[in-house]
Amino acid sequence: MDKLLAETLYYEMVRGRAFEYAAKEHYMQGDISGFLHLDIGQEALSVGAMKAFAKGDVFSTYREHIMALARGITPKAVMAELFGKEAGVSEGKGGSMHLFDPSHFFYGGDAIVGGHLPNAVGCAYARKFQGEEHGVMAVFGDGATNGGAFFESLNIAAAQKLPLLFLCENNEYAIGTKITRVAPFEKQAKKAEPYMPAIEVDGMDVVAVYEAVSEAQHYLEKGHGPIFVEAMTCRYEGHSMSDPNSYRSTQEMALCKARDPIERMKKVLQEQYGMDAGAIELLETKAQNEIDEAVSFAAEAEEPAPEALMAHVFTEGGTHALS
């Protein structure tokens, strides 16, 4: 990995975490409402995967802020969305759980656990149909791997040999329920065994995630069909702002934080790429500034006009002329 990329990965993680802390703060201040799911602790996964899969389409969940940023959507557009403003990426209509931007091949932002997986399958079908080789990535949690939509998707993607990367963010919990209490084993890649190859990766190591997802994308490009990547990770906060996170012990949390992806990558930058503390701090400051600007932007941005209520139920006109 070249230095620029390594720096970028670090930068995106730091910026992502800064974004999340800012969102948390402004949620507590009442500027943001609804369900806010923070990705703190999972930055390596979100950033590594998005950067590696830059060319393909991505379908994700409600815990998608950092992915949207790593995808190239501006912090301003994302923060403004959380603030419910017109300048938000979904014009204030979607909020935190529904960030969409087809110009960045980023499709949500789905708040139905597993609900976006059949959509990703369909999009992969479209890409294969179009001869587009980069394929599609679907990101989902361990909790999603128990639902019908997930299994149907594995089966269909395999039967039709679709270019689809299943990326399981296994943080071991679905809200307060530990995965091993509701599934017969810990690693959910096992569920994909009958259908496709799987790669297991440490989700707290951004370089490893980047490499695993890159490898998986090459596999897709070869036309062999779908592939599964499972990354073990850990969220530092409660499930959403309304979850007290009381089901995990202090010890469990400490173990988890000892694997911190940002600290780890910082070390890599220092030890492997010879960056000094000053250079790293510069990156951190830049990231924080970007987020501060995003917050100011979001705070000052306009509310949508009341007429926005009735807009976008349907397309204008709605009818496609046949050539």
């Binding site: 389409d57 379908f59 979904s90 014009e91 204030g92 209509k93 979607g94 529904h98 969409f100 931007d101 087809p102 499709y107 949500g108 932002g109 789905d110 139905i112 609900g115 976006h116 997986l117 059949p118 959509n119 990703a120 399958v121 369909g122 999009c123 992969a124 079908y125 479209a126 890409r127 149909f129 179009q130 599609v136 019908g148 939509a149 149907e152 998707s153 089966n155 269909i156 039967a159 926005a308 807009a311 976008h312 139920v313 349907f314 397309t315 006109g317 709605g318 009818t319 496609h320 002329a321 046949l322 050539s323």
Partner: protein, 325 residues
Amino acid sequence: MLYREALNKALDETMAVDDTIVVLGEDVGRYGGSYRVTEGLYAKYGEKRLIDTPIAELSIVGNAVGMAIGGLRPVAEIMTANFALLAFDQIINHMSKYHYMSAGKITLPMVVRFPQGVSKQLAAQHSESYEQMLSAVPGLKVLAASDVNYAYHALKHAVMSDDPFVFIEHELLYNKKGEVDLKTPLDPFKARIVKEGSDVTIVSYLKMVDDVMAAVPKIEEALGCSCEVVDLCSLNPVDYDTLKASIEKTSRLVMVEEEHKTGGYGAQIVSWAAEKMFYTLDAAPLRIAGADVPIPYNRTLELLSIPTPDSIAEQIIDWGRRNDV
């Protein structure tokens, strides 16, 4: 031409000119569709565009949503309305909402088609109607094809539109005969005056339109009145203008539907009329609908569970006598 042939023709003609249109569903390809609506299309367009899916309705609709996001124009067939329940999450939480939630960034040019209703002794898990549920979902356009010409034009419109459509067919209509008028354009959102009349507006849709028409001579004779029969065609949006004009003429409204009466689709029409046309109505409106029971297998019971030409005539005549029609 048969109703199913008209649907087939609509698919064929649109697929011929736009090669991003794909059809997916159980047995829609090689088999030609369980009601033969897609017959011949597999041979013509191949398996890339006529996609035989596994029995996984959630995925059929969910994949169609994803195909539309990816730039295709999918037409998904669900074999029977009851199975569409398995796809309600995708229809309601995804198909109907992505355009709005993304403030128009995502557009879903797609159609979900299925037959519904009481056919002949298919029993409770194969005989239901879900227009009341689906017409209540903002973001979906819901059409119900009662005749051959409408089926052709409306399906073509739905396939060519950039909005998500639910296109409802009826199991007993597939072999209905009729003409397709290729020359006269048809607005699929306009209600159809099936028969003009001056004294009673009878509103209906889908298969019940034929049953109403079969009942009308008896009704007109018994009550000495003239019935206007309106086929709604589009269940959402509703062509309230046509309804209004008709009720202004007749001052009386009867709503006939096959669904269970409680919570059935017709409640929306009658409640609209009560709210907006109250002072125009000369008589209490009448709603004729199915019984509030799961559909039984036995034929006698089955026919008792839904309106028939006889029961429609009987109920309207009785109502007419009680309400000075």
